[in-house]
Amino acid sequence: MRLTALAVAVLILALVLHAPGAVHAFSADEALDDPAQETRALKLHDELRCPVCQGQAISDSNAELARDLRRIVRERIAAGDSDDAVFDYLTDRYSDFILLRPRVKPANYVLWFGPVLVFVAGAGGLWFFIVRRRKRGAESAPAPLSEDERNQVESMSRDDVG
């Protein structure tokens, strides 16, 4: 029992030490002199997928290509490129695949708006269903009694009592 607890503790410690935040420490990149530009570069690094280790952003990857790409992003920014121009530069070479956040363009509309559409359709369907059910509930209530019928009921209940 105590051994299990120890194993769990070791495992947790190992996971903490390998937390994603710690990975940045490995990349011995040369930062840009301008802090504002460096901040932009780091933000873009998080938005770009490493083509080699595809689950990771180039900011998180130790692959050599990721390091080269980080350097290219810095170079483009230092050369005065806008964020979009940097993305264009890389998609020209590595296709949209390199973007972790797909662009909003016709080919990606299904991706971006599909879930919203499904949600709206589902919510609409549910609303329709509920309204119809409620309306049916109201309709199936018995029609109000006519004068004759009411008299009849009254006489019957009087009979009962009597």
């Binding site: 050599e64 290509l65 790409l69 020209d92 070479r93 590595y94 296709s95 695949f97 309709e139 029609a143």
Partner: protein, 198 residues
């Protein structure tokens, strides 16, 4: 129960008109789900996520001018490729194990003298590349030494080996990622090259 004009419809009547539509919904919704699930499963099981589609297909080759490997007299420039007609561009490195696997095939293609094979020596130590080629043979028409890997990045290279097919106008028509096997050559590249008139 008799029906008279003006009576509200009974439950039975309403059920009769609603039933076919409801049955349609019960069929359509699961059918739509099944189609979606099938498409996703197909992509999941047959997709090759490790093969990134090239952004350069049908585009002109990127411009570059690279130094030779020491001991070789010519480097490689984009102008050489543009002048060379239908050709192959092979990205290789001595540190790349799979490159060694496909190397005999490249030697074989070179021996048939079908078309130029341009070599892009990617992020390699020039002396390592030289001894690698001396040991295994040199299938390349000309080789450029891409020390920084910058030319490779312009070609969208993300792993070696990669092999590009270039048409007579200096455009990239096909990119093969990974080891080029005899089967890839026979079934894909060679027919393509014959089509291009190479």
């Amino acid at each position: 129960m008799t029906q008279q004009n003006g009576d509200p419809p009974t439950d039975e009547m309403r059920e009769e008109t609603a039933a076919p539509r409801r049955r349609l919904v019960f069929i359509l919704v699961p059918a739509a789900f099944a189609v979606l699930a099938a498409v996703l499963a197909w992509q999941l099981l047959t997709g090759t996520p490790d093969k990134i589609p090239s952004a350069l297909i049908d585009k002109s080759i990127p411009q570059f001018d690279l130094q030779p490997i020491p001991g070789w007299d010519k480097g490689l420039a984009s102008a050489d490729i543009e002048r060379g007609g239908v050709s192959l561009v092979n990205v290789f490195a001595s540190w790349c194990g799979p490159c060694r696997v496909e190397h005999p095939l490249l030697m074989d293609i070179a021996a048939q003298d079908l078309l130029p094979i341009w070599g892009l020596n990617y992020k390699d130590q020039p002396k390592d590349a030289a001894s690698w080629l001396q040991q295994l043979g040199d299938p390349f028409t000309q080789i450029g030494s891409d020390l920084s890997g910058r030319v490779g990045i312009n070609w969208g290279v993300y792993g070696v080996p990669e092999t590009f097919v270039i048409d007579g106008q200096g455009r990239i028509v096909y990119k093969h990622i990974g080891v080029l096997t005899r089967r890839d050559w026979d079934e894909k590249l060679l027919p393509l090259i014959e089509n291009l008139g190479g």
